[in-house]
């Protein structure tokens, strides 16, 4: 009878030890999972951040390039207008060229 009880206690004690081991192992595994999670979280942060920054950099480049292209197109229009203005100046000036020559001559030739 006593032997039987001792045997029973031993079985229970052994199983308790096994249970403790199982829980310790689970805790260790949980620690490892959490530690790996930190790394995974940091990697996710970096990847997400970089992904967004790449997008915005592309967006910014496009914005500046578009501004540059628009400004150049506008400049070309403006310069074409200037060319037209120059043609008009030349056309009007040609008509008054003789008057200008006469005016200079009247200024430099002695009077009277």
């Amino acid at each position: 009878m006593v032997l039987g009880l001792l045997e029973a206690f031993k079985i229970i004690k052994d199983n308790e030890k096994e249970a403790e081991r199982m829980i310790r192992e689970a805790q260790t595994q949980a620690e490892r999972i959490r530690s790996e999670a930190q790394q995974k979280a940091e990697m996710t942060y970096e990847k997400t951040w970089k992904g967004e920054i790449v997008k915005v950099e592309h967006q910014c480049s496009e914005l500046k390039e578009k501004a540059r292209e628009n400004a150049k197109a506008e400049a070309e229009v403006f310069l074409r207008q200037a060319e037209e203005q120059i043609k008009e100046i030349r056309r009007k000036a040609q008509k008054k060229m003789q008057e200008a020559v006469d005016s200079v001559l009247s200024e430099i030739l002695p009077k009277g």
Binding site: I11, A30, E31, A37, E52, K66, A75, A82, Q85, I108
Partner: protein
């Protein structure tokens, strides 16, 4: 009895197994939560950075547009000015062409005489030397008549000599016999002296209302 003990022992192991599973499951769930939180934070921070970078890019774009606009205005302005300058120079060239024709005509002699009288009067009369271009009008000057006019104008007895020296310019140079004082009445010199005023006048005629 043995069976009861077996059950208790097995229960202990079952409980431990369940608790272990729960511990691991909790850890596993916390991984997803943590990763999701960091992702959310990254998106939040990136959004702030995005706004700042876009604001900067817009400012830079404005600067680019301003710079291009300014350069284009400057270039257009320069082209217009350059054309006006070119047309003004053409007027001066045409004036010189007209003067060259004038020199060959008889109308030039009275003009040359007036240039001589003006230069000599400026020098106050006296013994003066006239330097001219080698053309036929220059040789037709009536020096005696000119001397009388200058003497009368200045009140100083005047004697004129035509120098052996020849100039290429049209018009006349007069200098005192000692060569110390000279009045340059060549057309080139006259135009140079009055260049600003003449340019202004030409531009006013050619480009007013342009």
């Amino acid at each position: 009895m043995e069976s009861k003990i077996q059950k208790i022992a097995q229960h202990i192991l079952d409980d431990a197994m369940e608790e272990s599973k729960s511990i691991v499951d909790d850890a596993q769930r916390s991984v997803d939560v943590l990763v999701e939180k960091r992702k959310h934070l990254a998106l939040q921070n990136a959004e702030k950075e995005t706004q700042a970078r876009i604001k900067n890019a817009r400012r830079e774009a404005e600067i680019i547009v301003g710079k291009v606009t300014m350069e284009m205005k400057r270039e257009a302005h320069w082209k217009v000015l350059s054309e006006k300058e070119n047309l003004t120079s053409i007027v001066f060239e045409k004036v010189m062409e007209r003067l060259l024709k004038l020199v060959e005509s008889e109308d030039y002699i009275p003009i040359l005489e007036k240039l001589v009288i003006d230069a000599c009067s400026t020098l106050g009369g006296g013994n003066l030397e006239i330097i001219m271009n080698e053309n036929k009008s220059s040789r037709q000057l009536n020096l005696t008549s000119l001397e009388s006019v200058i003497t009368e104008l200045t009140g100083v007895e005047t004697q004129l000599t035509v120098a052996k020296q020849i100039i290429q310019s049209l018009g006349v140079k007069v200098k005192t016999m000692d060569g110390k004082i000279e009045v340059d009445n060549t057309f080139e010199a006259i135009m140079k002296r009055r260049e600003k005023e003449l340019r202004f006048k030409i531009m006013k005629i050619l480009f007013e209302n342009s």
